[in-house]
């Protein structure tokens, strides 16, 4: 550590460049992680807020709640652990506003899904023509009491409340009553709900034409969700790999330049472990410096980013990514260790 700190202090420009490089790589990875998480959350926020474990859908729906239609008989008996929901894509229209693609979710007021809606203003829906909207509507200029039409229907729906983090497939959710959903699906006779969700991990719906899935299976089957998350995971993985190579190359070149100095220290009897320790601690110090700067840049970016950009940060995930980068730096620092161990002190004796 002594040698590493002194070298960093003396070689400010060189060390600064490496720190800057690690900071930029770290910043890029943090931002990508934030975007990946943000997008993932915008796909699943509403589902996550319900806190369910299993979901039952009609077996012909291909695990897509919007394509699932269940009769009352298929819904079957429900305990307090279960709730019915009706889900459909809608286009919300209002004077003075651009049309907005949204997801209408019909709920029953006495069941846990409706109870899980956390209002940021207003009140819950009290009749078929009242809806609670995701804050995206508020950001788009809607206010409490504004009226919207859904699709080509003639009914007007009043926004009576706003809730945050209510998105499905990156579209904002409008929470209404189950009867609101029934109204939009009036052409489909005998249909009662899209799905039954349950907080009970052992819940199974054994009715004919119905299948039960775990929440994770259901989430993974959301249109585009797995492809999106895998793309981001691959990008982050490749960036990690690239950072490993770049850091390793930089540290290798730095160490090669110091080998004659290290040879002198070996002549003087300085143990190899001190030199290896200096190399590794230098890489860790530079990486920590770079990651701290990357964190500050990421926080600044997050604060400056418009609310419309799907970016989310989760400390454990960012901590893991930061630790991964630190690990990559450590591995990068280990690459030149072989050269340090093989340094020949005899090389500096004689002319």
């Amino acid at each position: 550590m002594f040698l590493a700190l002194r070298e960093i202090k003396k070689e400010k420009v060189r060390s600064g460049l490496i720190v800057a490089m690690i900071a930029l790589i770290g910043y890029l990875i943090f931002i990508l992680t934030g975007l990946a998480l943000g997008l993932a959350q915008q796909n699943t926020d509403a589902y996550n807020s319900w806190g369910f474990q299993n979901v039952s859908l009609s077996d012909s729906a291909n695990v897509d709640m919007r394509q699932s239609f269940m009769t009352k008989q298929q819904v079957g008996h429900l305990s307090k652990q279960e709730a019915v929901v009706g889900q459909t894509s809608v286009v919300a229209k209002a004077k003075g506003h651009a049309n907005s693609v949204a997801v209408l979710v019909g709920t029953k007021a006495n069941q846990f899904v409706a109870k899980s809606i956390q209002l940021t203003s207003g009140h819950r829906s009290k009749n078929q023509y009242q809806v609670v909207a995701d804050e995206a509507f508020k950001q788009a200029g809607y206010e409490l009491g504004d009226q919207i039409k859904l699709n080509d229907g003639q009914h007007r729906y009043t926004i009576v409340g706003f809730t945050k983090n209510a998105k499905m497939n990156v579209a904002p959710v409008l929470y209404g009553q189950l009867s609101t959903w029934h109204g939009l699906k009036s052409s489909m006779r005998g249909i009662y709900a899209s799905a039954v969700v349950s907080k009970n991990a052992n819940y199974r719906n054994h009715q004919s034409g119905v299948k039960t899935y775990s929440k994770q299976t259901f989430i993974n089957k959301l249109p585009g969700y797995t492809a999106q998350t895998m793309t981001f995971e691959l990008m982050i993985g490749f960036l990690m790999l690239i950072s490993l190579i770049v850091i390793a190359v930089f540290l290798y070149i730095l160490t090669l330049q110091k080998l004659p100095n290290y040879a002198v220290l070996r002549v003087q009897g300085v143990p190899s472990r001190i030199l290896v320790g200096a190399t590794i601690s230098q890489s860790l110090l530079l990486a920590v410096g770079g990651l701290l700067i990357a964190t500050v840049l990421t926080i600044a970016t997050a604060l400056a980013m418009p609310a419309a950009v799907p970016m989310a940060f989760d400390l454990p995930i960012l901590g893991s990514v930061g630790f991964g980068l630190l690990l990559m730096s450590l591995l990068g620092g280990l690459v030149p260790v072989r050269s340090v161990l093989k340094v020949d002190p005899v090389s500096v004796i004689g002319g």
Binding site: L3, P260, V267, Q268, P271, I349
Partner: protein
């Protein structure tokens, strides 16, 4: 009693037609308080002898002892430890770490060898003797060649070794500096009771040496030239 003793050392490099015997049956001793010169032209085997004396190279045959302890056959870590504790190297190109100030060159020894080194007062006295007290916060790049050489000497002495091995320490110095550095080594040998061994082809150092050996084609002259004889 000799602190450094080299007995019947032979060194061979290569095999078959590429076989070269660099040192032939070398025996040599260095006693505390003396300055010994090993002189010879380039390619005579001086540097090889120095690396063997410093435990950096295990001789093909023969033995090297430090304070009566044979150590040329010991494990690398053990030789490192002995070299750190008992041998101070002064090299031709000084080789101070460029990113350490003069003060930090000594602090590095404090980190590696926290207990047995010169005290602060002894170091201050040594720096005063070498005339480098006011350079303590400078980096090697800010020093002249002569100043760097004196820092390198102080750095070699700081762990308080029994033996100083110097490799062409005057190669880059002018005549006046050679005399100064020569006197300095002599002073260190006598006042600090060190066994100083210098390999060089610089005849100007003969004036300060207690013993002068000639190394020619790997053969050390049998009869040393003691200062009293010269």
């Amino acid at each position: 009693m000799a602190v450094l003793s080299i007995k019947h050392v032979n060194q061979v490099f290569g095999t078959g037609t590429a076989r070269v015997q660099v040192l032939h049956d070398i025996s040599f001793e260095a006693e505390p308080g003396t300055l010994s010169l090993i002189m010879g032209p380039s390619g005579s085997g001086k540097s090889t002898l120095l690396t063997i004396a410093g435990g950096l190279l295990t001789p093909t045959s023969g033995s090297v002892s430090l304070a009566g302890e044979p150590y040329s056959e010991r494990a690398r870590q053990e030789r490192d430890r002995l070299r750190l504790n008992e041998i101070g190297f002064v090299l031709q190109a000084y080789h101070l770490l460029p990113y350490l100030t003069v003060a930090d060159q000594f602090k590095l020894v404090d980190h590696i060898k926290p207990k047995t080194h010169l005290t602060s007062a002894e170091l201050a006295s040594l720096l005063g003797t070498l005339g480098i007290s006011d350079l303590i916060n400078k980096y090697p790049g800010e020093l002249s060649g002569g100043q760097q050489q004196r820092v390198a000497i102080a750095r070699a002495l700081y762990p308080d070794p029994a033996v100083i091995l110097a490799d062409e320490p005057t190669a880059a110095l002018d005549g006046e500096r050679v005399a100064t550095v020569g006197r300095l080594f002599r002073q260190l040998a006598v006042e600090r009771n060190k066994a100083v061994v210098i390999v060089t082809h610089d005849t100007r150092l003969m004036a300060v040496a207690d013993n002068v050996y000639q190394l020619q084609d790997g053969v050390l002259s049998a009869n040393q030239i003691s200062k009293s004889e010269s």
